[in-house]
């Protein structure tokens, strides 16, 4: 079981593929298969960063457009999410993302019908037959220690605060405050959650500590 950093391949991989050059994978992180990068086409200097001891299981797809950037924090567990990213998707430390969750920072197509027809007519001429990123995109930020239930969707521009929980099959349209349980389609606040986290968290820098120590908060 090893990660070959020079070839950027995984010894256990069933898919014949490699980790793209502009992806930073922490050496303690686990990536189940490079198939997750089949639709990855980011040209950003750092198109994806997978943090310390994070886990990316089968079914996760990095559908990242040319300008997209994905950041996955330390100890995060991504159990098969579809990450549709043309701007930025950030998943905080300790967060757990369940199966068939959709995190989309863009609708990929313009909302206006005539403009959408132009993009659709263009697709057969594109080498990857993908829509080119003309649609608006708004960064998604999932805080630290957030749990997102299966088959939920998080829509463009949404921020989910630290410690919150999203119930299964929810569609998150609006921002979620920290330490809050939301559920439903569209998602609504069910109740707040007591913050009983220990003051010192292993391997992670708390948001409050970043502020106290004047560190960047992203």
């Amino acid at each position: 079981m090893s990660l070959n950093l020079s070839k950027r391949t995984l010894s256990w991989d069933w898919h014949v593929g490699s980790i793209p050059e502009n992806v930073v994978l922490d050496e303690e992180a686990y990536l189940e298969t490079t198939y997750s990068f089949l639709l990855y086409r980011s040209c950003a200097p750092e198109g994806a960063r997978i943090g310390r001891a994070a886990t990316i299981y089968l079914g996760t797809m990095f559908d990242v457009g040319p300008g997209g950037r994905v950041q996955i924090g330390a100890f995060a567990l991504v159990h098969g999410a579809w990450i549709i990213c043309d701007a930025a998707v950030e998943i905080g430390d300790y967060s757990m993302i369940s199966w068939n969750v959709v995190l989309m920072d863009t609708y990929r197509f313009p909302r206006e019908i005539a403009a959408r027809r132009r993009v659709l007519k263009q697709i057969p001429t594109e080498p990857l037959r993908c829509p080119t990123g003309q649609a608006a995109a708004g960064r998604i930020r999932i805080g630290r220690n957030v749990w997102i239930g299966f088959e939920s969707c998080v829509l463009p521009g949404v921020t989910i605060g630290d410690g919150s929980v999203v119930g299964a099959r929810s569609v998150v349209v609006n921002d979620v405050p920290p330490y809050t349980l939301v559920a439903g389609n569209p998602a609504r606040v069910i109740r707040s959650i007591d913050n009983d986290e220990p003051p010192q968290l292993e391997g992670s820098i708390r948001h409050e500590d970043r502020i106290q120590n004047d560190l960047p908060t992203e």
């Binding site: 959709v102 206006e112 019908i113 659709l120 939920s152 969707c153 389609n185």
Partner: protein
């Protein structure tokens, strides 16, 4: 058409128009799915023109036997099916479900995760389960 799952029964018929863009869509068809031009459907979206099994408990027992290895060619009970029609320029986000008999009007915008059991007027923006019209395009 990338990763599209065509589950089409013997009498099923699917029609898809020009310049459509489907990604991992599940098409469940025992009768008819009619999809117009310039239709976009995102990941894990499901369209079905039938529920596949009856609702009545007695009919469901008959159906379970007819579908089993011991069916001895017994006929299945009647199961309701109604065609699904998606008109031109409809956009359907990921994890959308469209059930039997639904007609989606031209240019409608179906937000991710919506579950549609009734007709949607043209150019409506729809969200939720049950789906509600929340605006227009």
């Amino acid at each position: 058409m990338d990763g599209v799952h065509f589950a089409v029964g013997e009498a099923g018929r699917i029609e898809i128009g020009d310049y459509c863009y489907f990604c991992n869509v599940i098409l469940l068809c025992e009768m008819e799915l009619r999809i117009g031009n310039y239709v976009v459907a995102g990941w894990n979206t499901t369209l079905a023109d039938t529920d596949f099994h009856p609702i009545s408990p007695a009919a469901r027992i008959q159906d379970a036997i007819a579908c089993s290895p011991a069916s001895q060619a017994r006929a299945r009970p009647a199961i309701p099916m109604r065609p699904v029609v998606i008109e031109d320029d409809v956009w359907m986000g990921p994890n959308v479900t469209i059930l039997k008999g639904v007609r989606i009007g031209a240019g409608a915008f179906i937000e991710p995760g919506a579950l549609i059991t009734h007709d949607i007027p043209a150019r409506a923006r729809v969200l939720g389960n049950p789906a509600q019209v929340v605006g227009s395009v």
